[in-house]
């Protein structure tokens, strides 16, 4: 189904934040906002849910922790418990200080890398991906707010956006 959106372009992040507030107060639906840099407080103003990436990272860290312990326990204690320089390889706990550096590194490795990969997957980023940039200026110094027109009056909506300080207002049909 063909849907209509309005692209409103702002040139100032403070103005943008204010506009976001007004647009939300007027109960229009913001589809997306493109900015050249992180605007502090934009997610709060838009009412976006906070990220759960940190929770995922914590779980990945636990997985790395477990992998390290199981690996070291299997290799050094169960499979071939050799006497290497007098280190006590009778049980895991006895030799555990020697394993801690590896446990630590693997925990960090899993937590960091899996989290980054999660981030790429969730935000759909990969090499050779076509950029979804509606207007090249938004990577430089312009801010773009995309608003669903759906069943609002286009005339009224553009007027409203003009009053919030938008520099350019475009109706896009796709």
């Amino acid at each position: 189904m063909a849907s209509k959106v309005i692209h409103a372009i702002y040139t100032d992040d403070d103005l943008l934040l204010q506009a976001v507030k007004q647009v939300r107060d007027a109960r229009y639906n913001i589809a997306e906002i493109y900015t050249p840099f992180p605007v502090h407080g934009l997610d709060k103003a838009m009412g976006l849910e906070s990220t759960r990436l940190a929770i995922a990272s914590f779980i990945y860290g636990l997985i790395g922790f477990a992998v390290a312990i199981i690996m070291m326990n299997y290799m050094m204690i169960e499979d071939w418990p050799q006497d290497i320089g007098g280190k006590p390889s009778f049980s895991f706990i006895q030799n555990s200080p020697a394993f801690v550096p590896i446990i630590f590194e693997l925990t960090v490795f899993f937590a960091a890398h899996l989290m980054v990969i999660t981030f790429y997957m969730r935000s759909k980023l990969w090499p050779f991906k076509t950029a979804e940039n509606p207007d090249v200026r938004t990577t430089d110094d312009h801010f773009l707010m995309e608003i669903d027109v759906s069943n609002h009056n286009v005339e009224e909506l553009s007027k409203f956006l003009y009053n919030t300080g938008a520099l350019e207002i475009k109706l896009i049909e796709n």
Partner: protein
């Protein structure tokens, strides 16, 4: 202006009195002669059930023999003469035990005194870091830190007095102070150029004078800045803070060798100074957080919000991990290479202090990591207080495990002497800190960063 509530004052005084009474009892209950020790042991095994008696034997008898095992083996090798020397050896053993039991109340006072002194010193270091780093979030907390460092002067003087009393041979905390021990100990003889009582006291006097002068000047400038018309004194304080940090890092390191590491004069570790520092700074930040939360809950800190608490909690979290890192680095390097002259330090701790030694790692690392990892929890007073209390107890144990094994060996127990000493110093600390807080307004007036700090949010 903060006014000391009479309830808090009364509580502090009660703590001090109860602690003092307990300590007097502990000093009186300590045995004076070998006969007393024998009597005590005999009494113990008569009164207690059989199980307890076995336990007592384990604690008091088996281990000293184990420690002195090399003597025993040497005697056995001599064969015929062995029996005659058994009695002498027995007395030697009781004398050893006598010294340990006599040391107990002293060591308890020493641990508690050092613990609270180190919180005050760590707070001063944290304050200087905030000044030198030109932190924008913390100026609303400066007067809280000032209040905690009010304990620095009395705390450091108490430490000095304790060292002087040890130097006067009133106790056996520092075995290198005992000329008889030194006469038979070549290792200590070679260290006497550094480890001798007059030099120790001179060094202690220099550290104490240095810290307190810096503290006095920074506090005075900060109060004068409130009344001043320009920011000149802020710059002076910036320079003072930077100078203090240089002096502090050197003096703190040496202080930890003098006051803690020298209790075990046969052992040395290069990262010991930082290890003590990490314990100091994390307890200090925790104390700042706890006092701030208390004052905030009484409505005295208008501009402190949960972002300030969040920042303090992040420091608690970070420094707890820093402490663990140094604890583990020291432990693992020595465990791994297992060189006999170094590893005895950890062998005595693991064998005789298993629970406190590993318990403190749980308290100082696992708890803070799990409680303070979540960003939302760091804003909840309840979580910060819970983690804070566990961290403070953990770092008391840390100092306990640093000092006790060389002072009282396997005769340790957290009983009347330890708890009374802790109570007494808690009372003293609370009394001095909260009286110190009443002496100046809790909000600095014209610190250049105060406005940023008031509006700080994270």
């Amino acid at each position: 202006m903060y006014t000391l509530s009479s309830r808090l004052k009364l509580t502090a005084i009660i703590f001090m009195i109860v602690g003092a009474i307990g300590l007097v009892y502990a000093f009186m209950a300590a045995p004076d002669t070998i006969e007393d020790v024998k009597e005590m042991l005999a009494d113990d095994s008569h009164q207690d059930s059989e199980e307890d008696a076995v336990l007592e034997n384990d604690i008091h008898l088996a281990n000293p023999e184990h420690v002195e095992g090399d003597h025993l083996i040497a005697e056995e090798n001599e064969g015929a003469g062995a029996h005659a020397e058994d009695a002498a050896h027995d007395n030697e053993h009781y004398e050893h035990l006598l010294h340990q039991l006599q040391n107990k109340p002293w060591a308890a006072v020493y641990v508690a005194a050092f613990f609270f002194f180190m919180i005050a010193l760590g707070t001063l270091a944290f304050y200087a870091i905030q000044q030198a780093a030109q932190a924008g979030w913390s100026p609303v907390l400066f007067r809280v830190m000032d209040g905690i460092t009010a304990y620095l002067l009395p705390g450091s003087i108490i430490m000095f007095i304790l060292l002087a009393l040890s130097g006067m041979h009133l106790n056996h905390l520092f075995i290198w102070m005992d000329p008889e021990v030194v006469a038979h100990d070549e290792l200590i003889q070679n260290k006497t150029a550094y480890l001798n009582v007059p030099f120790l006291l001179i060094r202690a006097a220099i550290y104490i004078a240095g810290w307190n002068i810096f503290r006095y000047l920074m506090r005075r400038n900060s109060l004068r800045l409130d009344e001043a018309t320009d920011d000149r004194l802020h710059k002076t304080n910036f320079k003072l803070a930077a100078g203090f940090l240089v002096f502090f890092l050197i003096s703190e390191s040496m202080m930890s060798w003098d006051w803690i590491m020298s209790i075990d004069p046969h052992w040395f570790s290069t990262l010991f100074g930082w290890y003590v520092f990490s314990s100091m700074i994390v307890s200090a930040v925790t104390m700042i957080a706890l006092v701030t939360i208390y004052l905030k809950s009484r409505g005295y800190l208008e501009y402190v919000n949960d972002s300030h608490i969040h920042d303090l909690a992040k420091f608690m979290f970070g420094f707890s991990i820093f402490w663990t890192y140094l604890w583990f680095s020291q432990f693992m390097l020595i465990w791994y290479s297992n060189i006999p002259e170094e590893v005895t330090y950890f062998i005595t701790r693991i064998e005789d202090y298993t629970l406190p030694f590993f318990g403190m790692v749980v308290m100082n690392f696992v708890f803070p990591v799990l409680l303070l990892m979540n960003s939302d929890y760091k804003r909840l007073n309840l979580f910060v207080i819970m983690a804070g209390i566990i961290i403070l107890c953990g770092h008391y144990l840390d100092i306990f495990v640093m000092i006790m094994p060389s002072a009282v060996g396997e005769s340790w127990f957290i009983g009347i002497p330890e708890i009374s000493a802790l109570l007494m110093f808690t009372g003293l600390f609370v009394f001095i800190v909260f009286s110190g807080l009443t002496k100046a307004p809790l909000l600095p007036k014209r610190n250049p960063f105060i406005k940023e700090s008031k509006h700080f949010h994270y």
